[in-house]
């Protein structure tokens, strides 16, 4: 009976998730239909070969396969997002639908298309919703990275593709995380990681396409997830590495997000499938 109940819960949650996604892409489809320009990105993308990796949440024995993909070498900046809202008026602060961004959306900006005085145009854009990040990615011919893709890259330090076993790995990231107001610094001012990717930990939290998949997931790990796991000591019982405090922080952050939320230290970068390389 309990098992049956569980299935019903998972099933209904999955359906809810699907219908939600359909809503989410709707405005983007509208953009393309109205013939708005596709933007060009000047951000270099880094080839990530993919592979199997052990996710932080879930069963120890379950490896997740990550297909090869491309990822932006750095987060999207204020200047780039400004160009986007100029081209896509529906994503300006005064015009964005409340459904797609909370009232703090781009709240520091002076006006719809004016960055505030003193802000670095090359600093990561923040205070934007998942919907806005996703719309940007589509406009530029890319997509948001999946949580697994993001976490796959996050395993690297400067010298190794997978540095998770190193004693210093989590401590170093936690140190970077805890610096305040770091989102105002320009991108690419610190050394890249093993893959040549910059600013994975030292500027902003980043949206992923399925940021809340710890709660709702269609993949093989769904059976081992529950939102209860995010709280109290329960989080430790479902983590594969209880000393990885950096990962606890990331998943804690993602677990608290809703797609219309905007946060002062939350930005994003884009990704792309390998086969879309030429686009």
């Amino acid at each position: 009976m309990r098992v049956l109940l569980f299935f019903i819960v998972v099933f209904s949650v999955t359906i809810w998730g699907t219908s939600c996604n359909q809503q989410e892409v709707a405005p983007v489809a509208g953009d393309q239909a109205s013939g708005l320009p596709k933007l060009t990105s000047r951000v270099a993308m880094v080839d990530i070969p993919g592979g199997e990796y052990k996710p932080f949440y879930g069963l120890d024995t379950v490896l997740v396969k990550v297909a090869p993909f491309l990822i932006d070498e750095r987060p999207v900046t204020n200047a780039e997002f400004l160009a986007f809202v100029k081209a896509y008026p529906q994503w300006r602060r005064s015009q964005v639908k409340r459904l797609y961004a909370d009232t703090n959306y781009l709240c520091d900006w002076v006006a719809d298309t004016v960055l505030p005085e003193g802000i670095n145009p090359d600093a990561p854009v923040t205070q934007l919703s998942w919907y806005a990040a996703k719309a940007y990615a589509v406009a530029i011919g890319k997509r948001l990275p999946t949580l697994d893709e993001w976490e796959f890259v996050a395993m690297a330090d400067e010298t190794d593709a997978n540095a998770r076993e190193k004693k210093s790995y989590s401590d170093r990231i936690v140190n970077l995380y805890l610096v305040k107001n770091k989102q105002h610094n320009a991108v690419k001012q610190s050394p890249p990681n093993y893959w040549g990717v910059y600013n994975f930990f030292d500027l902003v939290w980043e949206w992923t396409d399925d940021f809340n998949s710890v709660l709702v997931t269609g993949d093989s790990r769904s059976g081992s997830y529950s939102d209860n796991n995010l709280f109290c000591a329960g989080s430790a019982a479902s983590a594969t590495d209880v000393l990885n405090y950096a990962a606890f922080m990331r998943f804690s952050m993602r677990g608290g997000l809703k797609a219309h939320y905007t946060v002062a230290n939350l930005g994003f970068r884009c990704a792309k499938d390998i086969e879309d390389r030429k686009e």
Binding site: R2, N181, S226, F231, C232, G255, V263
Partner: protein, 345 residues
């Protein structure tokens, strides 16, 4: 597959249990049910909350109310000891967080706002709550967001609250804890002085700037640099000493945030007339030292008979001598040679 799912369901049920705030007390079950049916009338009003060592006014004879408790979670620099700065994570910019005082039967809305300048999400698990996570899930707030939940105060007692966002030991280790008192109908017996004390230990390492912050290795080893009352070395020394007059009855609401150590709370030169064991309803008498578990509390009461300075310690004494777990109660007034005098007969 089915077996795996069953295991998962069981594990989830277990975790829920582990996270839940209250275990049933055999004798209290009946009271709980009756408390749940008490109606809280009137418009919601904002609860009086206070910074340690002070506590809000007693509930006295009032009827159950609807109360709103406003809490702001922040990450701020503050002095921990000897001029050294530490990055505290707080409820309402203080360690311990604000003292909350309600009555059995009150309906309490807890509004938690996470400061926009925070780096991390925060939430609150109040041990006084009967419900999932003690409110942790319902109040989880990313920086700049607000979340709320409402609970019925059903079990009288003194309860710890704390942030339960992962990694929990770090959130607690940085100072995210406080106390909520649920007074029984009719209130606790009036006393002359009431104070709020909370113990917590700090595991530190220094950044290049000299700023201290949480050290995970020391926390895992449960080897703190500081064991402190009210979040700062010397918080209850000098100008911060607690005060009472000869002949008065003093009630201390003592909590232990941990995250790891158990406190052996003792007041040098005093005997606790009454101890509400573990903050619950069982009262014992004539106690020298009382155990306060991590994530637990005790209420101690004693009459002060002789003037002088009384030292409050964790009687695991290296913590008092070397790590800061020390405070003082200054009792003024006449000497009382029948009770205590220097020299022989």
């Amino acid at each position: 597959m089915t077996n795996k799912l069953m295991l998962f369901v069981l594990a989830t049920a277990f975790l829920f249990g582990a996270c839940g705030s209250n275990s049933e007390q055999g004798t209290a079950t009946g009271e709980k049910q009756s408390a749940a049916t008490i109606e809280a009338k009137g418009q919601p009003e904002e609860a009086e909350i206070t910074a340690a060592p002070h506590v809000p006014a007693p509930v006295g004879n009032r009827a159950p109310k609807k109360l709103i408790v406003n809490l702001l979670t922040t990450e701020i620099e503050g002095e921990i000891a000897d001029g050294k700065k530490y990055t505290f994570w707080t409820f309402n910019n203080i360690v311990p967080g604000s003292f909350i005082r309600v009555r059995e039967g009150d309906e309490v809305e807890v509004r938690l706002r996470n400061d926009a300048a925070s780096v991390l999400p925060h939430n609150i698990d109040l041990h006084a709550v009967n419900g999932p996570g003690g409110g942790a899930e319902a109040t989880s707030a990313v920086p700049g967001q607000e979340a709320a939940f409402t609970f019925k105060a059903m079990n009288p007692g003194l309860y710890v609250y704390h942030c339960a966002a992962p990694p929990v030991p770090m959130h607690i280790g940085n100072g995210m804890y406080g106390l909520i008192l649920v007074e029984p109908a009719g209130g606790l017996k009036p006393v002359d002085r009431e104070y709020y004390i909370m113990q917590g230990e700090f595991y530190t390492k220094a950044r290049e700037s000299g700023l201290l912050e949480f050290d995970n290795d020391k926390a895992v080893a449960e080897n703190p640099d500081y064991v402190l009352f009210n979040g700062k070395k010397g918080s209850m020394l000098g100008a911060g000493m607690l005060e009472a007059k000869v002949g008065e009855t003093v009630r201390l609401f003592v909590g232990n945030g941990g995250p790891n150590l158990i406190s052996s709370f003792h007041v040098i030169g005093e005997i606790f007339d009454n101890v509400y064991l573990e903050g619950g309803t069982t009262v014992t008498h004539n106690v020298q030292t009382t155990i306060i578990p991590a994530g637990g509390s005790a209420i101690v009461e004693f009459k002060v008979d002789v003037s002088g300075e009384y030292v409050l310690v964790d009687h695991s004494l290296s913590r008092a001598f070397n790590k800061g777990a020390i405070g003082k109660l200054k009792v003024t007034g006449e000497g009382n040679p029948k009770v205590f005098k220097k020299g022989g007969f």
